[in-house]
C-alpha cells in the first residue's frame, strides 16, 4: 500500500513535466508555425520514451542509487513533497526546477530519517547545476558566432529554410533530453528501489508526461514560442541548441540538470554578445533566488515533516 504514494507522486511529477516543459522542446517550432502543436506533442512522446529507455538509466542511477540509501519512508516523503512543491509552483507560475525539488527532498528525507547521504554525489550534482548553465552560455556564444559566419554567406531564404530544419532538430534533442534526464530524475528513485523496472517506468512515465503535454501545455507552448520567435529566432536557436547539447553531455555523465536553466544560460550568452544591457537583471535575480531556494525549501519541508509529523510513527 505504501508504494502507492511514491508511484502516484512520480506520475504527478511526470504529468507536471509534460504540461510545463514541452515548451522547452517545441515552443519555438510551434510558435513559428514549423510544426503543429499536435504533431509536436506526438513527436515529444516518442522521443521522451526513446530518451528514457536509451539513456535514462545514467541519471536514474545517480538520483536513485548513488545519492541516498533509500527506504520506503524516504521514497514516499521525498517524492510526495517534490510533487506537491512542483504542482504548487506550476499553479502559482513560479520558476521551479523539478530536478532541484526532487534532489532537495531526497537529501532532506534521507538526512531526517538518518539514512546515508553521499556527500560526494550531492556535490557532483550541485556542481553540475552550476556548470551546466555556464557551459550552455559559452556554447551559445560559440554557436551564435559560428552561425553568423556561416549564414552571412548564404541568401536569406536559404538561411530561413536551414533554420527551420535546425529548430526541429533542436526540439528533437531537447525532447530526447526530457526523457533521458528530466523524466529519469523523477523515475530514478522508484526504479532503483525496485517498485518498477526501467522499461515499466519509461512506459508509465512517458504516458503521463505525454498526457500532461497533450492536455495542459498548449498555452505555455504558444506563449513561449511566439514570445521568443517574434523577438529573434536566430538567437533563440543558438540559446536552445547550446542548452540541448549541454544537457545531453550531462545526461551522458549521469547528472540530473535542468534544461530550463541551461536555456537561460544560453540566452544570457547570446544577450552578452548583443550587449549586457539586453539581459533583464531583475528576471535573472528571480531565477537565481529560485535556484537557491528550491532545493533548500524541499530539503527543509522534508526535514520538518519527518521530524515533527512522522517521527512519532517511525
Amino acid at each position: 500500500m505504501l508504494i502507492l504514494i511514491p508511484l502516484i507522486s512520480c506520475i504527478l511529477i511526470a504529468f507536471s513535466i509534460g504540461s510545463n516543459d514541452t515548451s522547452n522542446a517545441f515552443g519555438i517550432s510551434v510558435g513559428a508555425g514549423i510544426i503543429t502543436f499536435r504533431k509536436a506533442v506526438y513527436l515529444l512522446g516518442v522521443l521522451v520514451f526513446i530518451g528514457a529507455v536509451l539513456q535514462g538509466r545514467n541519471v536514474m542511477r545517480t538520483v536513485g542509487k548513488e545519492l541516498v540509501a533509500l527506504n520506503i519512508e524516504i521514497l514516499s516523503l521525498s517524492l510526495f513533497v517534490s510533487a506537491f512543491v512542483i504542482i504548487i509552483a506550476n499553479w502559482k507560475k513560479l520558476p521551479v526546477s523539478s530536478h532541484q525539488a526532487i534532489i532537495g527532498s531526497l537529501v532532506g528525507s534521507g538526512f531526517a530519517f538518518g539514512s546515508v547521504v553521499r556527500v560526494d554525489t550531492l556535490l557532483k550534482i550541485v556542481e553540475s547545476w552550476i556548470v551546466s548553465p555556464i557551459s550552455a552560455l559559452l556554447l551559445a556564444v560559440v554557436v551564435y558566432k559560428l552561425m553568423e559566419i556561416v549564414f552571412r554567406r548564404l541568401p536569406v531564404f536559404k538561411v530561413e529554410s536551414i533554420l527551420r530544419m535546425l529548430l526541429i532538430l533542436n526540439g528533437i534533442i531537447i525532447a530526447y533530453n526530457t526523457g533521458a534526464n528530466e523524466l529519469a530524475t523523477a523515475l530514478g528513485p522508484i526504479v532503483c528501489y525496485g517498485i518498477l523496472t526501467p522499461l515499466q517506468a519509461a512506459i508509465i512515465g512517458t504516458t503521463m508526461l505525454w498526457l500532461g503535454a497533450f492536455l495542459l501545455s498548449e498555452r505555455v507552448v504558444e506563449t513561449v514560442g511566439k514570445g521568443i520567435t517574434s523577438l529573434d529566432a536566430f538567437s533563440g536557436f543558438a540559446a536552445q541548441f547550446a542548452a540541448g547539447i549541454s544537457v545531453l553531455i550531462f545526461t551522458t555523465l549521469g547528472m540530473p540538470v535542468s534544461t530550463t536553466y541551461c536555456i537561460i544560460g544560453g540566452i544570457i550568452g547570446v544577450g552578452m554578445l548583443k550587449g549586457v544591457g539586453t539581459i533583464k537583471s531583475s528576471l535573472l535575480r528571480r531565477i537565481m533566488v529560485s535556484w537557491v531556494v528550491t532545493p533548500l525549501l524541499t530539503f527543509g519541508i522534508c526535514c520538518a515533516i519527518a521530524k515533527i509529523v512522522l517521527s512519532p510513527y517511525v
Binding site: F151, P155, V156, F157, I162
Partner: protein, 206 residues
C-alpha cells in the same frame, strides 16, 4: 530551393509574379500616356486586379505558415507595398483618362520622363529581389532605386514650378491635373519603400 518546403517556394514564385505585374503595369502606363492609348491604360487597371489576387494568395500562404515569423512579417509588408504601387498606377491611369483637358506637350514630356524612370525602377526592384534570393550584392540595385527616386523628385519639382506659371481653366481641371501628378510622383516613393523592405528582409535573419 535548398531545404525549402513547397509553401515557401510558392510564396517566392507569387512575389516574383507580383513584381512582374508591376513591371508590366509601368510599361503599359508609359505606352498609354506616350500614345494616349486608352487600351494600354485600361490594361493597367486589369493588372491592378491581378496584383490584388496575387497579394491575397501571398497573404493566405503566409497565414498557412510559410516562413518563420521574422521573415513572414516583412514579406507580407513587402507584398502590401508592391500592391500599393499597382493601386497608385491604376489611380494614375484612371486620372489620366479622366483629364478634362489634353496635357500640353511640355507637361506631357515631364510625365513621360517620370513614367520612364518608374519603369526602370520597377526593373531595379526585380533585380533587388533576385539578388536577395541569390545572395548577390543588394547594394547595386537598391542604390539605383534611391538614385532614380531622387531624379523623379527633381523632375516632379520642376514640373510643379512649371505648372505654377500656367493659368488654370477652373478648379476641377486644376484639381484633377494636380491629383494625377501627385499620384504619378508617389509611384517612385512606393518602389523605394519596397526596396527598403528588401534590405530589411536581407538583415532579418542576421
Amino acid at each position: 530551393m535548398f531545404f525549402g518546403s513547397r509553401r515557401e517556394e510558392e510564396v517566392i514564385k507569387l512575389v516574383k509574379e507580383h513584381l512582374n505585374t508591376v513591371l508590366q503595369a509601368c510599361e503599359r502606363f508609359k505606352v498609354g500616356i506616350e500614345n494616349d492609348d486608352a487600351e494600354s491604360l485600361k490594361k493597367v487597371c486589369e493588372l491592378e486586379k491581378i496584383g490584388d489576387a496575387l497579394r491575397r494568395d501571398i497573404a493566405s500562404k503566409l497565414y498557412e505558415g510559410a516562413f518563420i515569423p521574422a521573415v513572414r512579417v516583412n514579406l507580407y509588408r513587402f507584398s502590401e507595398v508592391v500592391d500599393e504601387i499597382l493601386d497608385t498606377l491604376e489611380d494614375c491611369a484612371i486620372e489620366y483618362m479622366n483629364l478634362p483637358v489634353k496635357l500640353d506637350e511640355d507637361v506631357k514630356s515631364y510625365c513621360i520622363t517620370i513614367a520612364e524612370v518608374n519603369l526602370k525602377m520597377s526593373r531595379d526592384l526585380i533585380s533587388a529581389f533576385e539578388s536577395l534570393e541569390k545572395k548577390a550584392d543588394l547594394r547595386d540595385a537598391t542604390l539605383k532605386i534611391r538614385t532614380r527616386e531622387e531624379i523623379i523628385d527633381k523632375v516632379k519639382h520642376d514640373l510643379c514650378r512649371f505648372l505654377m506659371q500656367r493659368d488654370v481653366e477652373g478648379f476641377w481641371v486644376g484639381k484633377i491635373v494636380s491629383d494625377f501628378i501627385v499620384s504619378l510622383g508617389s509611384v517612385s516613393d512606393l518602389i523605394e519603400d519596397a526596396g527598403d523592405i528588401i534590405q530589411i528582409l536581407n538583415v532579418s535573419m542576421r
